[in-house]
Homo-oligomer: 196 residues x 2
DNA sequence: GTCTATATGGGGATAGAC
DNA sequence: GTCTATCCCCATATAGAC
């Protein structure tokens, strides 16, 4: 198999396992087994665990950028775009109740390990933060767009954390509804952008 | 030294290290060194890592109960009591920006490890949840007291998670102010409970 | 590019002397 | 109750054959 292809498989497996089990708790052997490689061959592709982590963060950056672009193409109205972000809590509720938010839990784990890549991981949040801020600007809230973006990110993180602890799907749905109501309150014209 | 005394020292050290570095990343050697014990002696007090975790959770349960009782004694008005809860985000901001919320990060880590003690850890959240719900009931919101309690817990978790990723103290202060405004909006009479 | 075999270190855990 | 010495396993990481 071509080296690049195998590498992609490794990074995809590591991405999933780092999310489900955590970075530290995932061993080379776990990833190798998941891909169907021997541990020896594994080192041909990645020499250290840090290298894999960097690759995983890079992969998530790419995937996130693609996701945000898709949301932007799918909807014209900023409020509708923001709703797409909120809805991932519903769409991914099962995985969130089991393993939390992929971004938040990685950032927290790396912070505790005082890992060199913690700023790189935080860039994943920055992608959402800046994208959301642009949408709030589009809603006519340019002055506090970044604060509104952080507020929404904060809520999604809080929901994910408690959902993991209590495994309560109704709680997620209730808070998502509350976030949607909050969003409407930020810009009453949001639901009817073309009332002409 | 008396066995109980040494045991307390071990649990206190483990409590701190589990918070700062995480449960998995903390080794017996780390704890033993922190207390000033040999690894061999360590096993006289705790036979497995799970036993230490249980003891740490037990310690946190006790400390949390004592904290909530103090808050209840210090303030008569439910709204004022709830403010005490919100203010721990400010009081502990440095540690939170470094290591997140002790309860939330432990629950998340145990969930990823699929650890047997994950429900015990979630009981720490339940202490806050039930206490907050009682305060909201006292505010005349008995019907949705639990939902309001979870909402406030959710916010504090979200603030802690983002504060760790972005290390932004201003963000914490802004969100705490927003939580206080939200609290007032839940019961306009909250600030003046005795206007007679 | 993939494998087996192996080195090296750290982690949890035990035995037994003091 | 505390110590040293030790065992075993698993994890990262390497060497070298195919």
């Amino acid at each position: 198999m071509a080296a690049g292809e195998t590498r992609s498989l490794i990074v995809a497996a590591a991405d999933r396992l780092f999310y489900e089990r955590g970075y530290e708790a995932t061993s080379f052997a776990d990833i190798a087994e998941d891909v169907g490689l021997s541990r020896g061959n594994f080192y041909y592709h990645f020499r250290t665990k840090d290298e894999i982590l960097e690759a995983v963060i890079g992969r998530r950056m790419e995937n996130t950028r693609a996701l945000l672009e898709r949301w932007e193409q799918d909807s014209e109205a900023p409020a509708e775009r923001i709703l797409r972000f909120v809805d991932i809590l519903i769409a991914n509720r099962s995985k969130i109740m089991e393993h939390g938010c992929p971004v938040g839990t990685l950032c927290t784990e790396l912070a505790k390990l005082d890992h060199a890549a913690q700023n790189d991981a935080a860039e994943l949040f920055t992608l959402f933060r800046d994208w959301l801020a642009r949408q709030f600007s589009g809603l006519g809230r340019a002055a506090d767009a970044d604060a509104l973006a952080l507020h929404l990110l904060m809520r999604s993180q809080g929901v994910a954390a408690l959902a993991t602890a209590f495994r309560d799907e109704n709680f997620i749905r209730r808070e998502v509804a509350d976030m949607e109501a909050w969003l409407l309150a930020q810009c009453p014209a949001a639901t009817a952008p073309r009332s002409n």
